[in-house]
Symmetry: C7
Subunit: 275 residues, 7 copies
């Protein structure tokens, strides 16, 4: 292979490069035509479906369909390109086996993404519009794909999470949620009286439509260094838990004020000496 | 393989695509028919069984049966689809060996899920309705599957935990639970007197049906910077431990108040100088 | 393999499925008969042995025997089932090599469990009834198996720990334990006098049967910001260390009170200015 | 192979080394010529495009084009060099298989970089000029490459992040952002009055062009040990959130001062004793 | 292999099982005889040696000898058992290759234990009776084995550490140890005077036989918020460092008291306002 | 191979060992001659270049050239030595395959070092003299090599970082840096007045040559428990940021003192009770 | 292989075992003779060298030479032993392939140790007597070996660090070190005056021979809640940094006392209310 360079027939080489270029252009053009046709077909199908199904579910299915279509096309496209270049590249690169091994390992992450993505979709773990926690990120799902899931954080940030990073999925949009408020009262308060006041507040709060069950005072949760902690819990409609908690806090504070139960500021017993 | 593109017989290709499409449709139809028949059969069997067995165990078995049936069907389905496409895809993709390697590694996680899931079921580590801690998530089990376990957190969140993430299983619904209350008293209290008061409270509390054993005052657990900590422990029926603890806390606080043992606010000795 | 579907002889296929089903049923029946016979045999053997050996050791051996028997049976059972299905499944699944690779990796965890379990048993690292810390979980051992170890936490939770998760085993039930009490005294106390008082308490405490050695005052362990810390240590019978510590704490507190050495509340020197 | 050293024909060896050197020089010269031509071509193309497209997108595309071109050239270059040296090096190094294995594993990281980089670009996760958080680093993107992404931190540091380190991408430049201000008020303040004051401030602030939605007072967020925490949130244009928050803070502080609601300094109840 | 079940000659099978059982029993008996002979031989050898060598070293060597003997025997034993069962098991288990792979990976940990254990022994990193820190566990070595090392923690717990978990070994029983005492003095103390007092204490302490070098006052180590920290260090015999530190602390405290240098309680400048 | 030891021809063996020794000595001598010639050549080339280029860049290139030369030589040297010993060692070591596998894995880290090092150099991520943060270490680069990078920490420590440990490179010497000063003022200060004072200081500071842009008061950054925090930021020349910050701090403190805005000591509201 | 046990010729087996034992004894004797000769040779060589070179470097080279010699001998020794046992062991162990795989993986760590150790020595990263930080352990190097590095911690502990655990090496004995002292002064101090006092102290301190550069007051480093922090830095000879810092601290404290600048005790503004 030492005199490899001299043996090349330069005319034939140029010829071959020209043919490859032509094929490449043809494939690219076909690729873009098929892609745009497919995408508009998917869109038309789901526009009709959106009238029949819930929008969130329809959007999930549409984004998945696009995804599968896009990756399927890309695979075929890459396959064609490889089959064209195949001959030439392998000749140039002596260590093809090594390259193959490296690519196999490198692509492993991609397969891992797709397998995980497939099961997230199959088991309907997340829908577009759900509020979820995955891979340490909180947010509302904007798109579920075979490779990547997009979350919109509450602060406006857009998170791109590769599916392989998703292990546990915590979906906060599947059923009623709990509202929980901890209230501190001073140690010298009568626990029964305080409980009764809170229960009256809970009774009034229970009329709120966002509340499904309770709220109830469940008792003495803990003793702090200067306060007794009472806990109130209830069930609310999905997404309403924060509002309900905020309203409960305000109502309880005002009821305690009205009944002369003051806030338990930190207390300290001072034993004074003079130096 | 340079003139690969020219050698294709386009008519035959179209023909073959048509046949594949027909087979595919046939397989999909058969798949859905078999699936719906199987599922309704499973449901009927377990509706009968629920009268004989405890509901939780029956639900676990039903969810597993569905699972095994679904994955078994899916495997056969994918096998058929692969056997149809086999010929065509491998021709397109030159680097099939690499793809195979990548898929093998990617699917490894799935096998890991199923193996772990199998042993969780075989050893009956969790049942539907149990309160468990797995993979850092607390919750009540909603479904145990071969691939995924679903937990409902106390705040209403639905957690999807892939079985491979489950290493240690901590099941909080298998037997009596411990109720534990730590009580702080000031340093200048007589320990014997305080212990006696607590023991009287424990005696009254022991009449509660939720309590199985105790509660008892076990002694001086620790010295804080301004308080002596006494510990009370008891055994309760499963799921009753929190209620028992809350009731004990209230009763102890009221008994200590009645006997003039006040709460041990943080103390500080101030040595005053004037600048 | 394109015309694979047409070549199938459907009659023969049905025939074969029937035979397989019959064999399967036969194997399952045999499996359950052998299992119940084996288990009752094991139980009878160990009921006799329990009179001769310590109960804890006998229970460990019994649970292991059951385990080995169960897994041995399962392996043979799976082997039979595989040998029946062998022919049919491999034909369906084209990519058997890939599946094999994936299963090999997936099962690796199981082998790891069994190997670790084997050495835990061989080296007698844990017995049923021991209080141990493994894989970050505290508890009393309820069962040692080849694959899983069951711990009962002090709060009543049942932990299932796969043996592969067990690296270091900390066994708290193998020999005498240390009781350790740290006592804070104010900076202006005479250290010799305080030490003497503590030594007198230790002398009285040493009469307790649960104490094997000491307790002794070993000296000034540390200087806090407002206190001198003296340390008392002793050796107790296994499992008695917490009770001994609690009793020591109470006795020391009462002795210090009697001798007018008060608790070292945090001290602060205030230098007052007026704004 | 013992008498390997004697069998070498030194004249031929020198000859061969000379030829290799000539080829090497030729390849290096061609490499640099092709590279400079390619780069100037890319630059010219994108200078024209910048008039038509948004600058950020054009710069991203230009930096990618340069990247792909550079790595493509490098691969071919290394291929040529290897094909020249091939014969000689493998003869020298006995353990070529081992070396090959080691290189395969070593290069795996590089492939991982390129695969991840490819999908970051394909899915347009980041553009030049975006403010993003990747791999624990905050910063404005300066360059997106196939192997490395460059971020300029707010403190002026230039971070080089290999693409394989990028798992989750948090892009803070994709849509409106949230402005969030928490305000503490003393426990003895009337919550309704405080809320009203804040809402007046919000109304005036809403006239700011940078604000898209709100801001609104959403209620009592938490109870501190000496303060009630009210929360104000709003939507702002991208990049304006910090300025809006700072302005809101100043305006709210001044409005509260004007209405005599003072800052909630930490409170403590002192119970005085004299030693 | 479909009619595999019919072709079995049941008589011959039973025959063969009988022969295997006999062989097994023979091997087990030989195993236990050889083991007990070997162990008593090892014991006798080392009982003689203990008179010549230091006990700790002799015990280490004895425990290793037993270990190597036991594992060597076990390997041969397992080899025999396998050679007996070989024929039958491989026939039953179709997927022997997979099982082999899994076992190879599972046993990897065991080999890792033995290799690490071998080097710990060869390099004499730990002896029986040494106080060491390995794998995050503190304790006195009770046994060093090829697979596991046993540590007795100071609280009485027995830790079983698989050798593969041992990376860094910190041996606290190899040479003299440092005693270090930090002393806080108030800011208004004369540093020279305090240093002189400490040096006088050090001089007296240096007469202690447990001290090898020093102790010396090395100067002002740090400024606290209300105190100057002086540091005293010295070298002691191995194992005596804690006792020396405790004695130094007591002596220094008494010397400072005698010279009227009081303890630096936390100081605070109060600027008083009236609301 | 049992009578392997008898069949050796000892005379021939000694002969062969002699020849190997001679070859070895020859190779070592040639190695050192070539090395010293190469190194002095590199030095001479770069001494000339240093007049033309910036010193930092020239030093980087020189250290790399030496590196590549040294490793290239070492590889060839090891190759020769291996080719000599080849025959003898493989005969001695039966398990050559195992050794080969182990070496392949062991050397993997070395390849990883070189590949990472190559790209750090190619992409000019660090130059000699840059202040960088890599692998958790801060420092000024002393040498960039193919295998190891040397950093001089600010405390004088010399860090050797293997290149494989370098993932993210944070280079603090590439462009202007930010100076950032946070200033606390009491709650009862007029924010506008304080801002005006700070802006006057900033105006005077802006005359400093080290400052490139600003500094500016950007507003109210946060509310502390007893203070309002104002933030000042500016751009400085590289390396001047710390000096600028220190000067700004001093100037701001003096300006606030002059205008009677005092430091916001922590405040606490005391509510006094008497026991 | 079922009747394998019967076919053994017991006489020949015993014969063979005898031969093996003889060979083994011969090899062990030769091993110990060669080892002791080699070691004494190495010692003699380095005793001569120590007069010419610096002791630290000579000791490093000596410990390495011994190491390489010892491992080289061990490898050959193990090779011989294996070649003797080869035939017999492989016959006994059926699953030799599996064992080989396991050993290959297990030995991987050892190779990793040697490769890392080789480069630590080649690049002279640590010498005997250096104070270094490796693998999270601080200490003075006692021995650098091919497999293990021994550090003596300041508290007297001897750390054995396997070389594979060494990634970053932080060598604190390569060049001058920085002395850094932070001094807190009260907020009402004149910064210029305090700086001047510190500079006078620095001037006097600069006469110390241990100081190479500075020390200098570099300015206002930070604002604490009750203090201004000034920073003093200087360069010292290696190993003298702690002594210089301690002396600087004492001198600065005395100078500030002399000039009436008192220590900045924490300050608090108390606003008093009466309950």
């Amino acid at each position: 292979m030492v005199d490899w360079l001299e043996k090349i027939d330069w005319a034939e080489l140029l010829m071959e490069i020209g043919i490859i270029a032509l094929k490449l252009i043809a494939i690219v053009i076909v690729y873009f035509i098929v892609k745009s046709i497919g995408n508009s077909a998917i869109e038309r199908v789901f526009n009709r479906k959106k009238k029949e199904m819930s929008t969130g579910r329809a959007m999930t299915l549409e984004s998945i369909s696009r995804n599968i279509f896009a990756y399927f096309l890309l695979f075929i496209f890459v396959g064609f390109v490889f089959s064209i270049f195949n001959f030439d590249i392998t000749t140039l690169l002596a260590g093809a086996g090594i390259v193959g091994l490296a690519i196999g390992f490198g692509a492993q992450g991609l397969v891992s993404d797709v397998v995980t993505g497939f099961f997230i979709l199959l088991e309907q773990q997340i829908d577009v519009g759900d509020y979820v926690t995955v891979a340490g990120k909180d947010g509302v799902v904007e798109e579920v794909g075979l490779r990547t899931t997009k979350l919109r954080g509450f602060d406006g940030t857009l998170h791109f999470v590769p599916n392989r990073e998703i292990t546990n999925v915590s979906n906060h949009s599947r059923g009623n949620m709990q509202a929980l408020v901890d209230i501190s009262i001073p140690y010298d308060t009568n626990i029964d009286k305080a409980t009764q006041i809170l229960e009256e507040v809970c009774e009034r709060a229970a009329r709120d439509e966002a509340i499904v069950e309770g709220p109830n005072v469940i008792g003495v949760q803990a003793f702090g260094s200067s306060d007794i902690v009472l806990r109130v819990i209830g069930k609310t409609k999905n997404g309403e838990q924060w509002g309900v908690e905020r309203n409960l806090r305000k109502a309880i504070k005002e009821a305690l004020d009205l009944n002369g139960i003051e806030s338990p500021y930190p207390r300290q017993v001072n034993i004074n000496k003079h130096a």
